[in-house]
């Protein structure tokens, strides 16, 4: 861990003006700092800001403070009842201890679990831009098959963010100049391209203050996570699904995926393949085809492509049963 300055922010304004890395739960950042994967010069502790509430919004949705711990969010009765996919995704992640500490805003900004990102003796364009990517041509079991580039094949590790992507969440931020932004989660993350070190559209000093969920969606919700052990493992493939079937036809569908791409993945073509159709194996297979049309395996993660197909089809069967 490199020496760093530490500053506690008492207001959102102070935080955004502090010119440092925000720290809330620290469940990811501190580990990375110990390994010198992250070497911030200044930490700005936002954990005392008043961003702990979950409020109902006029449109029937929820506004979730950026500091709400994952365990509190998962257990909130409104979330459990109306946003089941989110509650289930949260509980599928990490461990009880980590969820007690991890914040909503921090969870969105988790760094990848790529083995090579974690080891400073490896080449990694995300950690050290321009150094190369040892994951390509190396061991990449947990890495991405969608949205990759020649520079980076990292996956985004969050479960929560996958559910939020299916729920069309909006991320509310405040910048140093006081401007507030409302960013759709669909526009929040960036593909790696040639700059895998830049993962979101956030500007320097821009603080996530809230995450808003629209009014609860109609239909059935499910979060299905496939992993290498029953708990405390990142998703090989996960599916967050919300589907409404009316009069024997899929009226609406929202499907997001974890473990496959550099961001919580969502592709409108997947939903288009089933909306307006009666649930059927053919429709489900068309959805899987749409999801995986551009999938590319890198050797040890090739299996994710058939695994994603099977998992999606089984999830669609559940959601439409």
């Amino acid at each position: 861990m490199k020496t760093f300055d530490y500053q506690r922010a008492d207001t959102i304004e102070a935080a955004t003006h502090a010119n440092g890395r925000f720290i809330a739960g620290g469940t990811n950042l501190l580990d990375l700092m110990k390994l010198q994967v992250e070497t911030p010069e200044r930490l700005v502790d936002i954990s005392r800001l008043d961003l702990n509430g979950i409020e109902e919004r006029e449109d029937g949705g929820l506004s979730i403070g950026a500091l709400v711990p994952n365990s509190d969010l998962a257990a909130d009765p409104r979330v459990v009842e109306k946003y089941e996919v989110l509650s289930r995704a949260l509980l599928a992640g990490a461990s009880g201890q980590l969820r007690n500490k991890a914040s909503t805003g921090g969870n969105l900004l988790q760094r990848t679990r790529c083995y090579y990102f974690y080891d400073t003796a490896s080449r990694c364009n995300k950690r050290a831009p321009g150094s190369g990517c040892d994951a390509i041509g190396g061991f990449n079991r947990i890495l991405a098959v969608l949205g990759t580039s020649e520079q980076c094949i990292a996956t985004h590790p969050s479960d929560m963010a996958v559910a939020m992507r299916a729920l069309d969440a909006t991320i509310v931020t405040q910048k140093a100049d006081g401007d507030k932004r409302r960013i759709s989660i669909h526009d929040f993350y960036r593909l790696p391209g040639d700059t895998p070190q830049i993962e979101t559209v956030l500007d320097a000093g821009e603080l996530i203050t809230h995450v808003e969920l629209p009014a609860p969606p109609a239909g059935k919700q499910v979060y299905r996570k496939v992993r290498d052990r029953a708990s405390y493992a990142f998703a090989l493939v996960s599916v967050a699904g919300v589907i409404e079937v009316k009069d024997g036809v899929v009226a609406s569908a929202a499907l997001a995926f974890g473990g496959l791409g550099p961001m919580p993945w969502r592709n409108p073509a997947v939903e288009a393949a089933i909306v307006g159709r009666a649930p059927s194996t053919e429709a489900f297979e068309a959805a899987a085809d749409a999801l995986l049309a551009d999938a590319k395996g890198y050797g040890s993660n090739d299996f994710k492509i058939p695994l994603a197909r099977r998992t999606l089809i089984a999830t669609l069967r559940d959601l439409t049963a």
Binding site: M1, K2, T3, K34, Q36, R113, Y115, Y116, Y118, D119, T120, A121, S122, D134, G137, G138, F139, I142, V226, R227, D228, R229, A230, S231, Y232, A233, F234, L236, V237, T281, F284, E285, F303, P306, L307, R309, R310, T311, I313, A314
Partner: protein, 748 residues
């Protein structure tokens, strides 16, 4: 009892070489504490944080060391550039001592220094220097700031590409190669043949406590608080590595947070801490980071096992071959004895058990829980399951038909053997008769199945000594350099003492892990309880002899209970029979018994799994083990050993795999997030049963090793259950979901 009289070597020593059986034991005594499920005597200290582990001893002027790793897989270091490291605040020194530093941990029981000369780097992550700081953080930053210059050399990183380079290793516990009869002919002539190859990956013990040392020189003597399993031989390894005489090194390891073989020998941090402490004149603490534990201690070697079984039409084995390829770093002699259980588990006239060792530039291979059986029994017991399927026989019946009347190679009797009773009792308790035909029990997305496997583990007795002192205030104090690595040694030694001397348990004090105390077997190879327990028992036996003499009665007529000696209608407090503290040293040594009788512990594992037909995910639903291991000294700690072994088996079957990058040999998954030991959610309720047994041939306490029995065959039972559930046979461990769905069609 005349036999006791003969045993006294001198006035204060009771030594026994195990040349004859020992039919009676004072452990069948009046105090009635032996065998009882007594809580760990040191448990309250541990949960209150008052049981100091190696890294937790205070020391004045203590400084902190962090090891620097080689960041290349093979070659020669030309320069360690420490300029930037030395410039960091709080960094005291950067110490390189290529000739003295050890490359990898010492092997269990070795008394020579482990391979030194770290300038000639043999694997990625080899520790080559230590940065010492006033704080741990300063030292860690310093280690990250060291720059290396090196010339890379040709290397073997890919096991599959060097399979032709295997060589027969030197005889160890078993010979590298062994043959009996004519296997090839018998196999070719056999009406039923099975020829399968199983592979198991590299693994790491992942003990909770990382390897750690605090080194301090006092008047020319090194005091090292270390996390080690075998204090006596580790002192010798350390002395040799440092070039000092053995009496100048004292290792103290009172509490050890798990070892599983990874702490049998000294690890690189001990030598580095000792060198740094000497140079700086201050105590130095080095605790390995988890990443370093994975990278620079020892792994269990990966294996490739070809198993061929030839039987008659009834399933009786006539030809048996178990040939294994294994690996280790160049210059390392240790090899995984994959076929150790294969030598004696089944009959068959024509047999071969061969091992070939491939030099690889990877983290050194060493002992990990049940070296040999843990992986060998996964291969063999899965092959037996395949054979049963092929013959249309129940797997238990197949084993019954191949149960040997005596050890099939040495042709000597078994000291005791209850493998078939364990299988039969387990079958009944588990509900084995409910097992269905493979791949036929589907409920929704889930496929259900059951599997069975036998467990065997060779029993070993090692030379071990302990001193027991009966004090004038009625307590017994046990001193030995034996260790408790979480296994329950403190408790069983207290129970043995209390039972043999007729004392309440709270009157017994056990001191362990100090290299100044009588040298013990240490903890390893499941021999700790039998060996160190026998030494304590013999010391107590000597005390009994003296008490009887003092009372004027024979040993046979005296009963010891609750601190009193009872004989001839007299009951005398034992404190009245001694004028001063009475000490006797007990010592056990292996003898002819191990040549006259084949000694092993036995058991059976039963497992029920469900496998998701969509994703291939496996969930273990139930697991049950039945074990026989001689006298059970403490039902609770013995059970815990079996539970731990079975849990290791689940990990070996399903999740654990230490992965090396094939381009550099670097360990890819170096933390507990990515090296997957089973978590609670992976482990269902496990059931353990013991068969009653006394092994009078093994040692005077009639107990055999149990620490490694629980893992033997456990993974095979899981794998066989997966086959029964799915009809899919995966021969490459661990059985992750991708390997199952590859063979399991998806009915969209």
């Amino acid at each position: 009892m005349s036999i006791i009289g003969k045993l006294f070597g001198s006035d204060d020593t009771n030594a026994l070489v195990m040349d004859e059986p020992r039919p009676t034991s004072f452990l069948d005594g009046a105090q009635d504490v032996i065998g009882k499920p007594i809580n760990r005597v040191e448990g309250p200290l541990k949960v209150a944080g008052r049981a100091p582990y190696a890294a937790e001893y205070p020391a004045e002027r203590l400084v902190y060391g962090v090891l620097v790793r080689a960041t290349f897989g093979r070659g020669k270091l030309t320069k360690v550039d420490d300029t930037a490291a030395r410039a960091l605040p709080g960094v005291i020194d950067v110490i390189t001592d290529y000739d003295t530093f050890i490359r990898s941990p010492g092997q269990g029981g070795a008394t020579d220094a482990p391979p030194q000369g770290v300038q000639d780097v043999q694997y990625f992550g080899e520790p080559i220097a230590v940065v010492v700081g006033e704080t741990f953080e300063a030292a860690r930053d310093g280690a990250a700031a060291v720059r290396l210059e090196y010339e890379e050399a040709d290397a073997n990183f890919v096991f599959a590409a060097h399979k032709d380079q295997g060589k027969e290793p030197k005889k160890d516990q078993i010979p590298g190669h062994s043959k009996q009869g004519n296997f090839e002919k018998a196999f070719n002539d056999a009406p039923v043949q099975l020829d399968v190859t199983y592979t198991t990956p590299s693994q790491n013990s992942t003990a909770m406590e990382p390897h750690a040392s605090i080194a301090e020189w006092r008047d020319g003597t090194l005091i090292l608080h270390g996390a080690y399993q075998m204090v006596a031989s580790d002192q010798q390894q350390l002395a040799k590595a440092l070039g000092v005489s053995a009496d100048k090194v004292r290792i103290i390891a009172r509490y050890v947070g798990g070892g599983f073989g990874s702490k049998l020998g000294i690890a690189p941090e001990s030598v580095a801490a000792a060198v740094a402490a000497k140079k700086l004149g201050r105590p130095v603490k080095i605790v390995l980071a988890r990443q370093q534990v994975y990278e620079a201690t020892v792994r269990r070697s990966n294996t490739e096992q070809r198993i061929r079984l030839g039987t008659d039409a009834n399933g009786k084995i006539d030809a048996l071959s178990h040939n294994s390829l294994i690996a280790n770093t160049p210059y390392e002699q240790y090899w995984e004895p994959v076929g150790v259980g294969t030598h004696f588990i089944y009959g068959g006239e024509n047999r071969e058990v061969n091992h070939d060792l491939i030099p690889m530039n990877l983290t050194a291979a060493g002992s990990m829980r049940a070296p040999g059986e843990a992986v060998g029994m996964m291969g063999l017991e899965c092959a037996m399951d395949e054979l049963a399927e092929k013959l249309g026989l129940d797997p238990i019946e197949l084993r019954r038909r191949n149960e040997p009347a005596q050890e099939p190679e040495k042709q000597i009797p078994f000291s005791s053997r209850q493998m078939i009773p364990a299988l039969e009792q387990g079958a009944q308790l588990f509900g084995w008769s409910q097992r269905k035909k493979a791949g036929t029990d589907r409920r929704g997305e889930w496929l259900y199945g059951m599997g069975v496997a036998a467990a065997v583990r060779s029993n070993q007795l090692q030379k071990s000594a302990a001193k027991v002192t009966l004090t004038t205030d009625g307590r017994a104090i046990v001193d030995t350099d034996m260790t408790d690595i979480g296994t329950g040694t403190y408790t069983i030694l207290a129970q043995i003492t209390a039972e043999t001397l007729g004392l309440p348990l709270d009157k017994v004090v056990v001191h362990l892990g100090d290299g100044k105390a009588p040298a013990s077997s240490g903890s390893g190879g499941s021999w700790g309880a039998g060996s160190s327990g026998s030494s304590v028992y013999l010391a107590c036996e000597g005390i009994r002899e003296r008490l009887a003499k003092s009372m004027g009665v024979s040993v046979e007529e005296m009963t010891l209970k609750d601190g009193r000696a009872i004989a001839q209608n007299r009951a005398v407090p034992v404190t009245e029979l001694i004028e001063e503290n009475l000490s006797v040293t007990g010592q056990i040594e292996p003898g002819k018994q191990e040549k006259k009788f084949h000694q092993a512990s036995y058991g059976a594992h039963f497992c029920a799994v469900k496998v998701n037909a969509v994703t291939g995910e496996v969930r273990v639903e139930r697991m049950l083990g039945v074990f026989s291991a001689g006298r059970i000294l403490n039902e609770k700690t013995a059970r815990s050993q079996c539970l731990g072994g079975m849990t290791f088996g689940i990990g070996a079957a399903l999740t654990e795999e230490l992965i090396h990058d094939e381009r550099s040999g670097k360990v890819v998954n170096r933390d507990m997030a990515e090296y997957h030991v089973p978590v609670n959610a992976d482990v269902p309720q496990l059931e353990v049963h013991f068969l009653s047994e006394r092994d009078i041939h093994a040692n005077p306490i009639h107990a055999k090793g149990i620490g490694e029995l629980g893992i033997s065959g456990a993974g095979a039972a899981v794998a066989n259950a997966i086959y029964n559930a799915t009809g899919v046979r995966v021969r490459d461990f661990p059985i992750t979901c991708d390997k199952i769905i590859e063979q399991l069609p998806f009915d969209a």
